[in-house]
Each structure stands twice: as structure tokens, then as C-alpha cells.
Symmetry: C2
Subunit: 438 residues, 2 copies
């Protein structure tokens, strides 16, 4: 009745293969590409540690004709040192076991350097197009961004939280929320973990979450998707907006360093240049608008930047300082949410910031109101009904430390890092106003 399950296999590892030169190994993978040469063939195997080059030659005990691209196989092969190979070795195929077969060949060629297909085909065919090495590389890097972020947060004393995505009110108070029926009540999909991370600073001091957020925005642009992954942090006892920005800068340094060290092959496929962060230039919103006005003779008159202005501002800063990143601070109170802390010397401005990275806003952050009376006063001055916020405002009523935080859009950060022209490219299965599949 009882039995001992078999021992767990060690995962495939590059260092293990390198250490076994001259030996026979067994490796599983998908046949990514077969290149027939005169008298032999190259067979590229797609594995969980990347592409491995195999050689089909006279040592093989099977005919080449049994192999086809996108078969899943287990091969027996000899590890042969080869200085010309990127990995320092190749695999001489001896035997093959075919584990599964495709029914049809892929409708687009996925084993060239780039996929020659429209953007829509790229997304329609995600289960196959993601198999392309260059497309895969985007998500190898994205996974590393998350790993490095968590590593940073844990070193810096943050606790990971899991906040609910089904909420009874709209966190940002806006119209852009998805609504659903929740057992006869109206529920919303959380636009951010804002309220929850604020509540949690009184519990754990510093908290973070990397999780999906939902925005029912009708924008159909290269910058917008309706579901994205937000890297959220909230810092109890933060002293100032500067301290928040400095924390984000240190996080980005940690991320960029990790990506360079651990994803060099993936970066090379995109020819991506990771920014070196020394200091990040900081400019107030009004200063930035003035710079744009001086340079271009005009600036959009509202309290935000247009996408074009973000690009222009980035270009100015890059020219003047060499930096790919710029913090913009002191956004106008009218344009920031009700929980934003106003500047003590000017209540029309907030202790807030955005981070613009290569022409695209990737972060919004700022100090929050921690005092109950001040929070109620600001809400009432805005004509808000305070009652629905009572559960959230418990945090303030029963004592909340001074705090602030920020959220980074994971897909936007990935896209700007790799120079992708559309945030969808950095989303495994993008969701936009037209797209809900695959």
C-alpha cells in the first residue's frame, strides 16, 4: 500500500554538462531547429537552460528522418568540447527517444532570429511565438527583474504581502475600474494594492507585493494594457519623498546589476544597453514644464505630461546629464489621489514623484497622509463621501506611521530596458481593449 516515491531528478545544469566533457549524458528538450549540412546535421535542442547545440553524425544509431522540429525528445549524447560553441561544448547525438510530436508545423517560422509576422499574429500565436529565442529572452529577463526585486526587498527588511484583488470600492476613486457581480453585491477589480499596502505599514513597517492590477482604461496605445504586473512597495517611517526615490534608485541599481550578471545572453539578443545609474536627475513638475516650454515654445496646459512630452523631457535630460532616467517631483495636488501628502509649504503641490525611463513613465510614488484628521479633511474638501472608506481609514484612526511608497509597472520597465516599442511585447499574454485571448 505504501511506497517510497523515486528520488527527485536534479535539474539540467550548464555547469554539470561542462563538467562531463567526454561522457555520455541524457538530455530532454524540444527540437528547436534542424540544419542539414553535407553528411551531418545540427540539431538545436530547446531546454529549460536555453538552447543546446547537438550534432547528428555517424555516431547516431537512428536515421535523421525520424526527427522533426517541435518534437519533444530525450537524447543520449556525448558531451564534446568545442571552442567555437557559445557554451564551450556541443552534444554528439547517439540515441533518441521521441516523447511527443506536433500535429502540424508552426504557422510562422519560430526558429530564425526574428519572427516575420505582424504584431497581431505574434500575440494570437503566443503559445508558439514565445518559443522563439528572442521572444523568450524578454521573459527570462522579466523573471530576473522579479527575482532581483524580491532579493532587494528582503535584504532591506520588507515583508511580502498578498492583498485582495476583489475589492468593494475603487482604490483610485476613478472610473477606470472593472466591475463584477460578487454574490449579489457589486465588486471591483483592484487598480492597485494602494490601500492594503498602506494598512500593512502599521503591521510590518515595510511591505512589498508583485501582483496583477487591473485598469479598465479605453486607451489603445503602445503604452497601455488593461492588466499588468505591479511591483509595489510601501515604506513605514519614510522621512521624505527623497528617501522614497533613493530607495527606488537603489532597487533599480540592484535589478540592473542582476540582469547584467545573470541574463547576458538574453540581453545580447536584444542588443540591450542596461543604464548605469549614478545619480538620477530630479526635476519638479513645474520646472519640467518650463523646460519643455523653453525648448519647444509650448507645453500642454494641464497638470500632467502628454506621452510626447515624456519623450521630449527624457531627451532633454539625456542631453544635459547623460541619464536615461529622471525623477519628476511635486505634481499638482489636483492631479494626485486623495491620499497624497501635500507639500507643507504649498498645498497645491504634493510630496510625490514619477520616474520616467527612456521616454516612458514607469513609476508613480509619493508620501501619503498618515494623520486621520488630515485625511478626512482632504477627502471632505474634495467632496468625497468618507463612509465607504471607513474600513481603510481604520489604519489612520488607530495609528499609522508616516509612510510612502511607489509602484513600478513590470512590463513597462522590461520594455524600456530592451527598447521594445510596445508594452504588449513585454507581456506574456497581453490584455487590451481588443484582446482577451489566448
Amino acid at each position: 500500500m505504501f511506497y517510497t516515491p523515486p528520488k527527485i531528478h536534479s535539474p539540467l545544469s550548464l555547469s554539470d554538462l561542462t563538467a562531463r566533457i567526454g561522457e555520455t549524458v541524457s538530455v530532454c528538450g524540444m527540437i528547436h531547429k534542424i540544419r542539414r549540412m553535407a553528411g551531418f546535421a545540427f540539431v538545436v535542442l530547446r531546454t529549460e537552460i536555453g538552447d543546446l547545440q547537438c550534432v547528428y553524425g555517424e555516431q547516431a544509431a537512428f536515421p535523421l528522418s525520424v526527427l522533426a522540429e517541435e518534437q519533444a525528445v530525450r537524447v543520449t549524447a556525448v558531451v564534446k568540447e568545442d571552442a567555437r560553441s557559445r557554451l564551450g561544448f556541443e552534444l554528439l547525438l547517439c540515441e533518441v527517444e521521441i516523447l511527443s510530436r506536433p500535429t502540424e508545423p508552426s504557422p510562422v517560422v519560430i526558429n530564425n532570429k526574428e519572427i516575420a509576422a505582424s504584431a497581431e499574429s505574434l500575440y494570437d500565436l503566443r503559445p508558439v511565438t514565445l518559443r522563439n529565442a528572442k521572444e523568450r529572452a524578454i521573459f527570462t529577463i522579466q523573471a530576473e527583474i522579479c527575482r532581483a526585486s524580491r532579493d532587494f526587498f528582503e535584504r532591506m527588511g520588507f515583508t511580502e504581502i498578498h492583498s485582495p484583488k476583489l475589492v468593494s470600492g475603487s482604490a483610485e476613486g476613478g472610473a477606470n475600474v472593472f466591475r463584477l457581480d460578487y454574490f449579489g453585491k457589486e465588486a471591483f477589480l483592484a487598480q492597485s494594492p494602494q490601500f492594503y499596502k498602506q494598512m500593512m505599514v502599521a503591521v510590518f513597517g515595510r511591505v512589498y507585493e508583485i501582483a496583477p492590477v487591473f485598469r479598465a482604461e479605453k486607451h489603445d496605445t503602445a503604452r497601455h494594457i488593461n492588466e499588468y504586473t505591479s511591483i509595489d512597495a510601501e515604506i513605514g517611517f519614510a522621512e521624505s519623498c527623497s528617501a522614497l526615490m533613493q530607495t527606488e534608485a537603489a532597487l533599480l541599481v540592484h535589478i540592473f546589476k542582476a540582469v547584467c550578471e545573470r541574463c547576458s545572453a538574453a540581453l545580447a539578443l536584444w542588443n540591450a544597453k542596461v543604464p548605469e545609474i549614478g545619480e538620477i536627475p530630479t526635476v519638479t513638475f513645474d520646472e519640467a514644464k518650463e523646460m519643455l516650454r523653453k525648448k519647444f515654445g509650448r507645453a500642454d496646459e494641464d497638470d500632467d505630461f502628454s506621452p510626447e512630452e515624456e519623450k521630449r523631457l527624457s531627451a532633454i535630460i539625456r542631453r544635459e546629464t547623460g541619464s536615461d532616467l529622471v525623477f519628476v517631483t511635486r505634481y499638482h495636488t489636483a492631479k494626485r489621489p486623495f491620499y497624497a501628502l501635500d507639500c507643507p509649504e504649498d498645498p497645491h503641490l504634493t510630496e510625490s514623484f514619477d520616474l520616467i525611463f527612456r521616454g516612458l513613465e514607469v513609476t508613480t510614488g509619493g508620501m501619503r497622509i498618515c494623520d486621520y484628521a488630515a485625511q478626512i479633511a482632504k477627502m471632505e474638501a474634495r467632496g468625497m463621501d468618507v463612509a465607504p472608506f471607513a474600513p481603510y481609514l481604520q489604519a489612520h484612526k488607530y495609528g499609522l506611521p508616516p509612510h510612502g511608497g511607489f509602484g513600478i509597472g513590470l512590463e513597462r520597465l522590461t520594455a524600456r530596458l530592451l527598447g521594445l516599442d510596445n508594452v504588449r511585447r513585454a507581456t506574456l499574454f497581453p490584455r487590451d481593449i481588443h484582446r482577451l485571448t489566448p
Copy 2:
């Protein structure tokens, strides 16, 4: 215009405080408890590294009366060695800066060992009740479960993915899905990342995700919540159900070891005994039903266990083997989803398993169908309309390795580990058929 932001503060660290005995330090925290003694007072400070004991005595340059519980403060204090203290030191208060004040005292006492309140009050007042040391400990452990899981997955060659939560079809094909309007189309909240993790094994070989899932189940029990966090893994080239179970067992060993090593204080508050896993007993579904029938004279006749049966089976296994965990395998095909792989020797059974931990199912897993024709045949035999699944079935059509995986309910695992009687206790902000706040 440009300036250098200040250097980032090092986070508070216990080893740093221990290394500075005799020195004066500055520490931020919330005043968790004030205990007035004859001529002095103990002041417990809640910080991101846990509770720190401070002593208010003659060295203090301020009157004790300025302090109140749930104030946020920055204190200046001398680190004094104290063998009686759990941490080996206490802090002699010198100065205090009050950073924020509560408006009202907490409606329940949160700084005793336990909170004397009903379960509903505990959840209604989450922003304050989570400040209690014992409640906090649950989520310290939960964060460690996630950290250790990711550490395991990364060591074992898994890549982290972010699958969409807004989907066009219901992953499990069931009725228990939340529906919403998505720009005029019908969308669902994903019940699991099942389809996406399957598609991704052809890309990365092994993938994992720790993310929210949504179940519109109307159950109102201690075992059910409508939004929970799922630790999901999918393993390309898995050879058998046994290999999947062994991987999960190794993951649990890794998690339990990490929790013991890094959360001993939190475990102690709950008097929790972490199971030692040697072998996990494994029993088929039919064998388990037979054991229940023998022992209790009857078994529920359907293809699943009742909650009572899960408890009874756990008790039998514990008595016979000493194990807190049991794998149940070979669930009936009729009760498993359409993508489950049938047993080659008996198509009425599946290559699947559940893990029962101290009387509660915490995992469902199994091998999946990777062959396109076999998958279509099984769907058609069930009378399913195949067309809506075409985007998902691209993975099979264009080649998918043999694979399988599992999902662990984070809140259930946490609850059973700590002996909590209700899964809600292990959920920061639980969502059930009656509750959508805070």
C-alpha cells in the same frame, strides 16, 4: 535644478543592534505596549524586525505621559545587554520624537497574547488586529513559505511566469467562475493558471507562478475562500505522477526547513510543530475509500472525499505511519478535468493526485495530456465544444512535451502548518460569500 538624493538608510537589523551594545542608537517603531511598573516602565516597540523591548527610566529626558500606544515614534536609546531578554538586549530610552498619533484607541485590545474578539471582529478590524504579535506571525511565516518556494523553484530550473487573470473562457470548465463585462465582451476571472502554465512548458520547460486565483464557490465553510493565492508549478518532461509528487515533497521539505530555521519565534507563538517529511505515504483513491469503508462501515459513494473523510483518512494514515501528509492518487476520470491524463491501463482512472495535510486537501496535481489528437478525442467524448479552446490547444497542435504539475493553496498550507481552524485566519484580507471588506 539637479541634486543628488540622500543615501539610502540601512534597514534596522537585529545583528546590528546586538553589535552596538553600550552605544546610543535611533530606532523607529510603533508603541505596541506600555507597562507601567514601580518607578519605571516597559515600552514595547513594534518594528519591521519584530518587537523590541525598551525601558523607560531615569535616563529618559521626557515624561512618560507623552507616550501612548499606537503612536509612531523615533526613539534615541542606549543598547543594554540583558540576558533575560529574548534578544539578549533591551533599549534604555533617552529621547523620543512622536511622528504620528492615533485618534482613538483600538476598539479591541491588540497587545495581549491573544485578541479576545469574535472571528468576525478579527476580520472586520484587520488593519488593527493584524498588529497583534500572534496574528502578525501567521503572515511572517506565509511570506517565508513564498520565499522558500521561489528559492526551490529557482534552484530546480523553473522560470517564473505572470499569466493573465482576465480570461475569455473558464479554465476548469465549471460554473464557479466570476464573470465581468470586458469592453462589451464577456470575461472571466481565472480559476487557475492551468492553461497558461501548460502552454509555457513548451517555452521554458519548467515554470512556476505564485498568484491570486478566483473561485465563485458558494461554500460557506472553514476551508473555502473565494480568492486565494496559488503556488503553481508545471514541469515539462515529467516522467510520471510519482516524479511530480516527489518534486512537491522536495518543495515541502525545503519550505518546512526554511520556516523552522528562519521563523522560530513566529512558530513558537503558535506552538506549531512543523512536520518532518521522510517519505510521504501514498495511497490510491480506491484504496483510501476501502480503508474508510473498513474503518467506519461506510464511505460516501461519489468520486471524491467529503471534508469529514479527508480528516478520517488523515487520522488513519497518521496512526499507521506517523505521517501528517498523505498523497492520494488515481482519482476517477469522471471527477478530473478534461486535460488530465488517463492511466494507460485503465481509462477510468487518471494519473493524478491530491495531497492531504492534517485532514485538509492542500494540493491537486497530475500529468496532463500532451498529444493533440488525444486531447481533442477526450474533449469530444465529453461532449465539449472544442472551438473556444483553440488558442490553448495551439500548444498541443504545434508540439508540447509530456508534462504535469500541481497547485498548492498558500492559505490552506499556512493554516494547517499552524493548526488554524479556519483558512480565513491565514488570509490577510479574506474574501468569502459574505465578505468583501476591508
